[in-house]
């Protein structure tokens, strides 16, 4: 067990990280992600307010739709990345990272000025279970009254799972199809055990409970950013390839001006994916070199269990940020060859 944003969480379950990772790609994995924070925004100005503090365009959402977005600083850097759920025209739910929940909550409150909204940090009220993988729908369907096949990617429905009222959302952080179930915190154990049973855990193709390590390797193969690694208050959305959630034409929001300026002037560094081409494993924080010049740092580096390669992400100056560029990673004093490749590293067959 490790401390993760104040939560005691398992790095892995008995099957081990590699097996958990592979099972999620081939069948299903279950993740207890109750540590994620939930901020509830209600009121007639809910959409206008959230549209001003987040970078994506909240006005584009319809009831039952979710959106990936970011809380940005006036400099266009990232306070946190989050999901915005539209429950109703006057009711949004913001799902944020565990380690940043308090910071986000203070930030959001401090930027509330005049809009008619009620803000509530509801993090302790929810549990969140993520069932991910190609078998997710068939495992979950018998337990819920929500017609899962009708839920499109990044959409959700209120409903019951094993009789427990909550929200079923077709979202995830693994690169697989799957669902995230939000329910009252005191029903977490019931739902966890029920989903494992329904998914025939313990059998060779059954659902496996998955820990933080597999969650990390799965999201890395899928090329998804992790707050505190690829994005933080020193990286802008544009540098992190997240320009697609920076809707500069939607009207004013915190950081809009800085991002518009940076877009016009051009960024000087960019987040890239790389594959290690020699023996060795790149790890977080290691130096990236071109020739003998230090040009950047690894933000996440790890073996990729499904791809059976050693991969990572790093910031490099834009002149080197092209697919095929050869780089070196300083692996504890040994320079190991790597090559910039397209991301995502892994994309599931539709």
């Amino acid at each position: 067990m490790v401390d993760f944003g104040g939560w005691d969480m398992p790095v892995q379950y008995p099957a081990g990280t590699i097996e958990e990772h592979l099972r999620t790609r081939t069948h299903a994995g279950l993740f207890d992600v109750s540590h994620m924070g939930e901020i509830d925004v209600r009121g007639s100005d809910a959409i206008a307010f959230v549209n001003r503090v987040t970078s994506n365009d909240v006005t584009k959402l319809v009831d039952g739709q979710a959106q990936y977005s970011a809380l940005t600083t006036p400099e266009g850097t990232v306070i946190d990345d989050l999901l915005v759920y539209r429950l109703a025209e006057d009711h949004l739910l913001l799902v944020v990272n565990a380690g940043t929940t308090e910071k986000d909550w203070e930030w959001i409150k401090s930027h509330h000025s005049g809009e008619s909204v009620d803000l509530r940090n509801a993090s302790a009220e929810y549990c969140q279970l993520a069932l991910q993988g190609p078998d997710a729908e068939s495992i979950l369907q018998p337990l819920t009254d929500v017609p899962l096949s009708e839920i499109k990617y990044y959409h959700f429905r209120p409903g019951t799972v094993d009789g427990v009222s909550g929200i079923v959302s077709r979202t995830g952080y693994t690169g697989e199809d799957g669902f995230e179930v939000y329910a009252p915190a005191d029903r977490a154990e019931q739902l966890w055990n029920k989903i494992l049973d329904a998914g025939k855990t313990g059998t060779p193709t059954g659902v496996l409970p998955c820990g933080l390590a597999a969650r990390n390797t799965l999201r890395l193969e899928a090329g998804l950013a992790l707050y505190g690694h690829e994005i933080d208050e020193t990286t802008t959305l544009l540098e992190a390839n997240l320009g697609w959630i920076a809707k500069l034409d939607k009207g004013d929001f915190i950081g809009r001006e800085a991002l518009a300026q940076q877009k016009q002037a051009g960024i000087t560094r960019r987040l890239v994916g790389f594959e290690v081409t020699e023996r060795g494993i790149a790890r977080d924080e290691q130096e990236v070199l071109v020739g003998d010049q230090k040009v950047g740092k690894v933000t996440s580096g790890s073996p990729a269990p499904f791809l059976k390669k050693n991969i990572g992400m790093a910031y490099v100056p834009v002149e080197y940020a092209t697919v095929g560029q050869e780089i070196k990673i300083d692996v504890r004093g040994r320079l190991v060859g790597a090559q910039i490749v397209k991301t995502p590293f892994y994309k599931r067959a539709k």
Binding site: T17, A213, I281
Partner: protein, 130 residues
């Protein structure tokens, strides 16, 4: 419960030593491989490299982490387990057998006596995991 063979010597860094004449065979314990998780990469020294006791001679990597490995005994590397380059998982499946790492010509055989016995090592790991 971790497997701790009676006939080996142990270090507090979770390496084991098997004495074979004037050579020592070194690997990591069952307890160590279990706490590391799936081993995906092992970096070992070269034959001829010299080490003093408790110096780092390589590393073992799981998906999540890198751990240095330390030689409990001073000496010169006479051979390494080359097969771990392609089959690092042997460290998990057979830590005291096919997962051995390094064979060392000992320069001070007396160092073996300062290592832990199987019973002492078992007590040590119990205390550490409490």
């Amino acid at each position: 419960m971790a497997n701790v063979p009676e006939d080996l010597h142990y270090s507090k860094d979770h390496e084991w030593v098997r004495v074979d004449g004037d050579e020592a065979i070194i690997g990591i314990t069952d307890y160590a491989q279990n706490s590391l998780g799936d081993v995906v990469y092992v970096e070992l020294p070269k034959a001829g490299d010299e080490f003093s006791a408790s110096e780092s001679f390589g590393s073992v990597e799981s998906v999540k982490a890198v751990s240095e490995i330390f030689t409990p005994i001073s000496g010169t590397v006479s051979s390494i387990n080359e097969s771990l380059a392609d089959e690092p998982e042997k460290v998990n499946s057979d830590p005291y057998g096919e997962g051995w790492m390094v064979r060392l010509r000992m320069s001070n055989r007396g160092e073996v006596d300062s290592l832990l016995t199987a019973a002492e090592y078992e007590d040590f790991t119990k205390a550490e995991s409490e």
